[in-house]
Structures are given as C-alpha cells and as structure tokens.
Amino acid sequence: MKSILTNTISLKDDEDSYLFHEGECLEFSSTKEQADQLSEVALFFDQFFSALRDSDLLYTESHIEVDHALIIANILKNGHILLTITNTAPHAHSNLQHKRPIIQTPRSLVSNKTPSKPLDKKPTALSESAQLAIKKILINYLGPASTIIFNDVYSKWGALEQPTEKSRANLLKLLAEELYTQDEKIKFQAKAEVILKKY
C-alpha cells in the first residue's frame, strides 16, 4: 500500500512532511525523533482548527513563517494533521539535496508500538500538553477567547501560590470562576479533573 504522504504531496529537497492523528505520527519523511518532537505541535493544530471550526471559521490551512523555516499545517477531511516544514535558510537547498527522504512509517521502525512522548521544554506543575487539553475544554464554553483567559488565569495562579501538582485543583477553581453558569462550572471542573489525572 502506498503511503498517504507520497499519494498526496510531492516533497522538494528542502521539505519534510509529517502526518499526525491525535498527536500520533502516522507517517513522516524525516526521522522518528523529529516526528516525536512535533507531536505537541500537531496536537496544538488539532485544537487550533477545532476552535476555528467551533466559531464557524472554515479555515483548514495555516502558514507559519519563522526565521529559517516555513511551516504549513493542514487539517485533512479525515481529521489528520499534515505538517510540512520547508527549510528557508540561505544554503538550505545545497545542504540538504543529498538527503531525499524516504517516506517511513513509525510502525515499520518500532516493533512494539510506543506512544510518542511529548518533550516538555521545562518541568512545570502543568505540562504544555495538559495546558492545551484544558484550553480545548475551555473553548467549548468561552470560544476563541479561551486561550487569553487561560493564560491570564494561569499567570494569576502562579502569582497566588507556588504552582505544584497538589495545587492544580486551585487552578481549575480559578478557571471555573470565569464561566457563566453554575452548570458550566461543574461540567468544566469534572472534565478538567479527568484531564489532570492523565498528565
């Protein structure tokens, strides 16, 4: 069976592509290590496009330009996230032209399937993936403003007390205060507590 990546896109010498489903890399044209490092980015775009869709904004593609790279994130009709990263450094082409990637699937490289381990840049009381998961719940109640409100409340939590694993429940209470009805507050806290147990 041909890979999805080779069927859908034609990679240039300085491009790499990764196909994700719910943060798990299904296919990649680079290395597994790089694919694993992009797991949280893919989860981010899952929630990003979901938030847009919930607000009736029908955007399916995002171009992000950073110093020496262009990242294109697409959400496909089946919900997969396709990330394409182009190296735009001045000599990228000549440096990379020896390396025409071969499409690989993680399963062909790893006999015992292990979930991609998110790489937290620094230890915090609440990992970035947990923060994203809670933001995703908040989006249901607060819409696009949820990220701003979460970040404000998260800062407030940090100012009120030393954030620890034990004090995470207080963060949920602070976030619940931002919701409009008692019913929403209860539902949000119940869902968020389930998330916290996972992380």
Partner: protein
Amino acid sequence: MNKDSISKMITIHGVNGISLLNSENEALLSNIKDQQISEAFVFLSSVMPDLEALLAMGAVKQVMLKGAGQQNLSTFAHKKNTLCIQSDPLLSATLLGQQIRSAIG
C-alpha cells in the same frame, strides 16, 4: 508603525482589512467591520506565543490562515503589537509578507 505605513498597507492590491492589536489583544486601530473576523484575529494573535514556544524554531514572523472560499487572515508580529491583515485568497503569504514588511520599513 506610523500613518504612512498603514496607508501603504491599505493600498496593497488584495488587502481588504487591517487591524493593529496591542499586547493585550485590544484593537489600537481597525477598519474591519466583521466581528467574527476581528475575533478570529484576537484568537490568532493570542495563540502565537504558544505556537512559538511549541515550535522552538525562533520568532514567529507571520501566520496566515487559508480556507476554501475564505478571505486569508494573516498576523505579523510587530514589536509588542500584532498587525492583522485580511486579504484576497489569491495574494500569497510570501508576497503579502514582503509587501507588509516593505510598508513597515
């Protein structure tokens, strides 16, 4: 960014709306009347720091959203503010980026 820069941006072929958000995502100026688009820009601007941290590939200079039948929505980091541009789908991210950066000077 001054009035001249804004005037230049408005005249870029394919640009249909401009908004400038401060670090609190409050509009300092805007000619975008569609509330939904304005909210989308606030959302886009608010997630740029998260995206930058996750990517760990340096500063995010420009983000463009595209969708079938939709106007493109782009955000550019400018000092502590975010410049938001609504543009025609045919105007590429690269060309828009070049023209906006040229207008900012």
